[in-house]
Symmetry: C2
Subunit: 114 residues, 2 copies
DNA sequence: TATCATTGCTACGTCTATCGTAGTATCAGC
DNA sequence: GCTGATACTACGATAGACGTAGCAATGATA
């Protein structure tokens, strides 16, 4: 991969989710809170965006879902676990991000724009 | 502005174009080449993306178009000039980029992802 | 002189991540 | 009994990006 398209800069929600699933499975509501916390309240993913991301990630084989095993209370929860393909995809997105950032920043003025 | 949405990370083509119009008016084909050059061939904007960006930028009052004055040869060219509102918008996008980058990078591993 | 690449742009339709709105259901605490 | 937090699902709209195609003029090349 030696060139980027503009549209790739979209779709980093998937990358964020994979990052948060890296060490242990998790589920929608928890991921949502962790995104808010890790971003220091600067970013709150929308519920619909989050759940449609899960669907896409699973369809692409980057995560696997399983039902809550210890169904403590009547609450149904769907957990997601990252797959090896998901880890690979995450690595590619990290590399892509580095490249994208390099390109975009050639067009960005750090100061308020002279 | 203290929080970002995911979708904002899209749409930096407009920002790149405004950057290239900052000092002097220009037109489609030239902008296209300058993007390729400045990005060191890492990014080539698609023609349709470029011209639809011009349309949007003009509709939003961020650029003004005018016809080639010295129509040297039969070639028609539409030049675009950045407006004060365009400069303002560019500054906002630069600030937004800084914020977006900060957030995204909390989810990106610099190394190949452990 | 015929042909091809480059220049410069327009029209039209498709794709898809995001997001708005809305609805369902459980549970804890007051 | 009601509110707020938890945990999702369904459905449709939006809009930036992009694929494909076409048109017209110029310059270089054979």
């Amino acid at each position: 991969m030696s060139s980027i398209s503009s549209d790739i800069i979209r779709g980093y929600n998937d990358t964020m989710i994979l990052y948060l699933l890296w060490d242990a499975p998790s589920y929608g509501y928890e991921i949502s809170k962790r995104i808010r916390n890790l971003s220091e309240e600067k970013y709150a993913i929308k519920e619909t965006t989050l759940y449609s991301a899960f669907t896409r990630l699973e369809k692409n084989g980057f995560v696997e879902s399983f039902a809550d095993s210890d169904m403590v209370n009547g609450k149904r929860r769907t957990y997601y676990r990252i797959t090896e393909q998901g880890r690979q995809y995450y690595r590619e997105k990290c590399a892509e991000w580095t490249l994208t950032k390099e390109v975009v920043e050639k067009f960005i003025r750090q100061d308020g724009g002279m």
